[in-house]
């Protein structure tokens, strides 16, 4: 055993062991000396001499610690597979404070993966003094197997900011940002979600590097990693998503067996089929949440605090430019209409079906979009069918009571960008084009046939 005063290994050296990828194991014993050994979900470094262990259901471990304060902890470095044994002495239990909140954030993230935030909560954070650190096996970093260190220079960040600053509209800003994250900063897979009008859901406005675009997909704030980042307004990072999801699912199944929660609906998963690492950062402006920027990787432990800083910077730029774009659109709603004529219609019939309950729109028999964007499209095609007019101002839409837009921050411009991208993604016979500040044109390649269950 090595005295911490003499050992060359410090808690700081073990930081990678605390990322949750390889579960830690703890042995305790009761007052009569009966040992107990189990896995832990979260271990945190508190300071140079202490660690904190999350306590969700460690009832036996907690009872043991009350009788015998000693514990033995096994940790594995998820990059090198070096293994360490820590000799611990229980000091106290925190139910509030900085350490508790840090552990609670981690537990909440696990809970968000399978929709258990209502039942799976941190009860307390047990604080231990580290009396010794034994190196069981020490391995060297393996080239190519270490976590991806983002070699980001300020020049690349500045270039991305410059590219974004040259964009004329929100769709362009997000598209350029995600493309720049890839070719300038090396984040191959990314998506941008924006907060909806009620501040309850996030919807995908653009994605990059995924097999399917997924524009328009929605999740509740609090669901999944992006939802957790939105709810807490802080970056959320996971380096071993498959491990975390399995742990979370095991807990959820146990709760379902107890009847505490019903069978869960599926939480939207990352759109990359083999995502191992995910980083979701809130896009904030003036302290207000605009959306969430998510980057993903199939590599385990791909992101670190440096990545958090870089992606946060890009998310902040997107948020600020989104707000500027919204303000600009609002100011320009009185601009004169553009004169570009609509595309000539083909002979085909474009069948649009609308379901008022949730604003779903189907083109022919294919689902297109729902919610506010669906209602907007329905309003536009009705107007087009009734009057033959194809151009419209955003302000006109704002006055359409059937859209039921909130008076404050209606996100309508964003919804139109989303709708435009969704129509493009589906190569739909209906397309939206910008034709001036605050104005759009609806182009229809055929005769509209409208059907609604209203």
């Amino acid at each position: 055993m090595t005295d911490p005063a003499e050992t060359t290994v410090t808690l700081r050296d073990l930081r990678r062991c605390f990322d949750g990828r390889v579960p830690a194991a703890i042995a305790t014993a009761n007052g009569e000396g009966v040992p107990n050994v189990t896995y832990l979900s979260v271990v945190h470094e508190v300071d140079a001499e202490r660690v904190a262990l999350s306590n969700q259901f460690m009832s036996k471990t907690s009872r043991n610690l009350a009788e015998n304060p000693h514990a033995s902890l096994l940790l594995i470095d998820p990059v090198t597979f070096s293994e360490y044994r820590l000799t611990l002495r229980y000091e106290r239990t925190d139910r509030r404070g900085v350490v508790f909140e840090r552990l609670r954030d981690d537990v909440d993230t696990v809970a968000a993966l399978t929709g258990m935030r209502d039942v799976f909560r941190l009860r307390s954070a047990d604080i231990f003094r580290v009396e010794a650190i034994d190196v069981i096996v020490e391995q060297q970093d393996a080239p190519g197997l270490v976590s991806r260190q983002q070699a980001v220079g300020l020049t690349a960040c500045a270039e991305l900011a410059a590219r974004m600053s040259r964009c004329a509209d929100l769709g362009g800003i997000v598209e350029v940002a995600l493309a720049g994250l890839d070719d300038l900063l090396g984040y191959r897979h990314s998506s941008m979600m924006l907060l909806d009008e009620q501040g309850r859901r996030l919807f995908t406005i653009a994605s990059h590097g995924f097999p399917a675009e997924g524009v328009g997909s929605e999740i509740d704030v609090g669901e999944g990693l992006a939802g957790a980042a939105a709810e807490a307004c802080r970056p959320v990072r996971i380096g071993g998503l498959s491990q975390m999801r399995k742990y979370s699912q095991a807990v959820r199944t146990a709760y379902e067996r107890e009847g505490a929660i019903g069978p869960g609906r599926d939480i939207p998963l990352p759109t990359l089929p083999d995502t191992e690492s995910q980083l979701a950062v809130p896009a904030l402006v003036r302290g207000e949440l605009v959306g969430v920027l998510v980057v993903e990787s199939p590599l385990p432990a791909a992101f670190n605090p440096d990545d958090e800083a870089v992606v946060t910077m890009v998310a902040t730029l997107i948020a600020q430019m989104t707000q500027i774009e919204r303000a600009t659109v609002d100011a320009a709603e009185h601009a004169p209409p553009a004169t570009k004529p609509p595309l000539p219609a083909s002979q085909e019939c474009v069948h649009v079906r609308f379901f008022a309950e949730d604003g779903s729109v189907f083109l022919d028999s294919d689902y297109l979009i729902r919610g506010v964007a669906g209602r907007v499209l329905w309003s536009l095609v009705q107007r087009r069918a009734a009057t033959g007019l194809s151009e419209f101002a955003i302000k006109e839409l704002r006055l359409d009571k059937s859209l039921a837009l909130p008076g404050f921050r209606d996100n309508l411009d964003t919804r139109l960008v989303l709708l435009k991208r969704r129509l493009e993604e589906r190569h739909a016979p209906i397309q939206l084009e910008r034709c001036g500040r605050g104005r759009f044109r609806l182009e229809v390649a055929g005769e509209l046939h409208l059907e609604s269950n209203e």
Binding site: M1, R21, A25, I26, A27, T28, A29, G33, V34, P35, N36, V37, T38, Y39, S41, Q56, F57, M58, S59, K60, N68, H70, A71, S72, L73, L74, I76, T80, F81, E83, R85, T87, I136, V137, Q139, A142, L145, G240, S242, Q243, K246, Y247, Q249, A250, V251, T253, A254, Y255, R257, E258, A260, D274, E276, P298, P300
Partner: protein, 160 residues
């Protein structure tokens, strides 16, 4: 005590479950370490043979001197987990059969991790241990250690 003769339980214990061993020293200090294979020797009398890694002299001393032991088997794929409490009957040098079991178990365990967590086989090979001590344990109790609200509850023959 869980029925070790039960096919599903037996299959679980002989699979690539992650194996943890907890012991206690005369000084009252608990000790955690890992094991690299487990087999049911006699289901009727609840005796198992656990291949404990032999590079921790404290654990080996605890096993021999005190003998009280906890063994936890956890599925890498599902996190299902069972903890046994018992007492060491004997510690022995590994037989050829033990070595074959260790190799077989290591292959199953690392395959489970590779399939579940996508570590490269080269990295996982770093984790594997070559040297073990065979530890015969008479079990007295079993507990559900699967994470969740029932973690720590007793498992018996009627409550698997």
């Amino acid at each position: 005590m869980i029925d070790l003769d039960d096919n599903e339980t037996s299959a679980f214990l002989h699979s690539g479950c992650a194996l943890l061993v907890g012991t206690i020293g005369a000084d009252g200090l608990p000790r955690a370490c890992r094991a690299w294979g487990l087999s049911v020797v006699d289901a009727g009398s609840a005796v198992i043979r656990v291949l404990v890694e032999d590079d921790d002299p404290v654990t080996l001393k605890n096993l021999r001197d005190d003998g009280r032991v906890a063994v936890t088997a956890t599925s890498v794929r599902t996190h299902r987990s069972i903890q046994f409490k018992g007492r060491v009957v004997s510690t022995e040098r590994p037989t050829a059969e033990d070595e074959a079991r260790r190799e077989h178990y290591t292959k199953l365990f690392l395959t489970d991790i590779n399939d579940s967590h996508r570590y490269s086989p080269e990295m996982l090979a770093r984790w594997a241990r070559q040297h073990v001590v065979a530890c015969v344990v008479e079990l007295a109790a079993s507990f559900d250690q699967t994470p969740g609200p029932s973690a720590g509850s007793v498992i018996d023959k009627d409550n698997r």
